[in-house]
Symmetry: C2
Subunit: 400 residues, 2 copies
């Protein structure tokens, strides 16, 4: 990718006024529905679960064109279209919309806020019906698989028996993998992006630093914070750690180098410092510190295979896979995707793997990225309505 | 290096009880001397400067065998020998001592705590003679070159006109480079290790996260903290960020993987989390948060060449260089050392470069590392008393 794509490289479109960017979908509005509860893997029973979700496009009469998009740590259900309040585009507006890689003219796109989140779905900030007070740290530990169970309940509610595809990056990719394994009959295509089957020690370490930063903030107060004493400093530091890991060194050098801020108040500050400060302080306006603790814990605990043999775990899988990694992603390095692909192949699963050469690190899936969009679009359209090979450049699969 | 070297891999020997390890030097004790003051690059004039230092070995009658060892961010003057209070070995005891790479039987080794530090040398925790209170954030911004100026005053005090060698890793490597450039007539050999001529945006970013963590701690209180309300949480988080960057992913995987703590109290904690927590909490017992801010700022601001042409800056350099980097060091990646070497060669400087294949990331210089010790020892001994080539395996220089 060339430097001309850097303009919206900011980790998360939510954090960013994207000058001149207009969503082709116009304003979109999420809905919250109360669904029958689930029992978590840890044994906690929710009587009901609220789920905030967005649908785009139309479910076909055959109900065979539904795509579930799963967000990462800091995402939400507002995947595309303009936010009615802020006017900002959804976090994947670049890739979801009419004629885009995930084409809302063809597909019925579903996105929901994850269980444990803080954007409308039941999470630690929700009221505990037993006490009438927010759960806080009494919220049960939830897992990636619990999140998938709630998504499945949403699909039941929407009348979708089988997904055409489940797509997700980072934490969303872990959900996609769990769909294929836990609900094989409901998953036709699985597209895990920039993710892994289990966090390494270093991935856990970065999350732990974020958690410690939050819990070290006295205003966190054991998870029982009032709006007037919100642990914004700790959450901001956690977000800053995250942002450093989302970018590649090259992207940072190109974007910031050793440049200084121009404004008088920040005269001595390096631009990269202002960037991180901004990312930290804008994040605290929209994210819940306890959710950050619970979601990162769910990510760290995720272990698709655990102590079982991968071939055993993958035995019942019916989905076809498109696995995507990014060459410059050092937080979820391509070697983890390669290992996943190796295991999928060993288990006899149909899998296409692409390690895309990009400069922008883990964030490569969030930014304008034509090769990524092409690959995603070709794969989905090819599977949806097979075309002759001459109709478009097919994705080039990397041999492994 | 094999797995058998992992035993003392803990980032900093100061933080670590090294089971069964005995320093060949026995107990060593640092001294503090009050020297004539300096004027900082920022224009501040210290009337006097206290310098905590340690010497090992004997200065030769010709005064030509002095080696200055410069510590990194969290180091101090206690480079080798056992601490009289804690019994712990100095931070480079593995490489400094009789018969070691930096051989105290041959060389007069000098180590001093850096200006701005918190282990006996004047820093933000020192009393401001104008007010009788600690400087805190009224301490002037100090630079790597200011630190070198103070080291030069110490050498004057010790009667050492010319250094046989100046050696340092990380922040210490920046000091070594400054010696060669700022005091060319006093520097015979310069050995910068795992360092760079100017921090990249990513290196600044990691330091900024640490600084923000400290300043976000309400007990930091603008730098005016009492012992009873010490910003230990913020400093611990800063140290945790640092430690994640000091290790390689492979080292972390080998050392921790996804293992859990065995103890009942930490039953659910990953070992890597306990490790980071321990590193954070032991650091706060020995380090000053304001020093952390000042030293990381000095590191980020360091720019050996600035806007000048490197050949101009290096024109007067008389030192011979041994530049060392580590293949798995992603905090100070080898590419930065290669670029330094390229510039030294362009300027006609005598330089040997080694990129050592190690698995332990930035910490590779702190741990048991025979190839590193061999290279260092051969270079110093070869320069000190040239031997026939057959007398030992010469270091293998990497072509660039």
């Amino acid at each position: 990718m060339g430097a001309e794509h850097v303009s919206i490289l900011d980790g998360d479109l939510q954090d960013q006024q994207v000058a001149g960017y207009q969503s082709a979908l116009g304003v979109t509005q999420t809905t919250t529905v109360t669904l029958p509860g689930i029992q978590t893997q840890s044994g906690f029973k929710f009587d009901t679960v609220d789920v905030n979700f967005l649908t785009l496009g139309k479910l076909s009469p055959e109900r065979d064109n539904a795509i579930l998009v799963c967000h990462g740590l800091s995402g939400n259900a507002h995947v595309a279209g303009s936010d009615p309040l802020t006017g900002r585009p959804g976090w994947w507006d670049l890739h979801v919309g009419p004629g885009k890689a995930i084409d809302t003219d063809k597909f019925f796109v579903i996105a929901s806020n994850a269980l444990g989140g803080c954007s409308g779905t039941t999470g630690p900030g929700s009221l505990d019906p037993r006490t009438g007070k927010p759960f806080g740290m009494t919220f049960p530990q939830v897992t990636i698989r619990d999140m998938v169970q709630v998504q499945a309940a949403l699909l039941d509610h929407l009348g979708v028996e089988k997904l055409f595809a489940v797509i997700g990056a980072s934490m969303g990719g872990m959900q996609a993998l769990s769909w294929a394994v836990d609900l094989p009959a409901r998953t036709r295509i699985c597209i895990p992006i920039a993710t892994c089957t289990a966090h390494s020690a270093m991935q856990i370490a970065f999350n732990e630093v974020g958690r410690r930063a939050i819990m070290a903030d006295p205003d966190w107060n054991g998870g029982e914070y009032a709006e007037s004493r919100f642990p914004s400093h700790g959450l901001a530091v956690a977000r800053m750690v995250g942002h450093v890991t989302y970018l590649s060194e090259l992207a940072m050098t190109r974007k910031f180098g050793r440049r200084r801020q121009a404004s008088a108040s920040d005269a001595n500050q390096f631009s990269v410092e202002s960037y991180l400060d901004h990312q930290g302080s804008s994040f605290v306006k929209r994210f819940d510190p306890n959710s950050y603790l619970y979601l990162t814990r769910a990510i760290d605990e995720f272990d698709l295979f655990g102590t079982a043999a991968p071939t055993e775990v993958l035995r019942g899988v019916q989905a076809r896979f498109l696995v995507i990694s990014f060459s410059s992603d050092w937080l979820y390095p391509p070697v983890q995707s390669r290992e996943l692909v190796r295991q999928l192949k060993r288990a006899g699963t149909a899998v296409t793997y692409l390690n895309l050469e990009t400069d922008y690190g883990h964030d490569s899936f969030l930014i304008e990225n034509p090769p990524f969009a092409d690959v995603l679009g070709h794969f989905l359209n090819g599977e949806h309505a097979p075309r002759p090979k001459s109709a478009g450049a097919p994705p080039v699969a990397e041999g492994i």
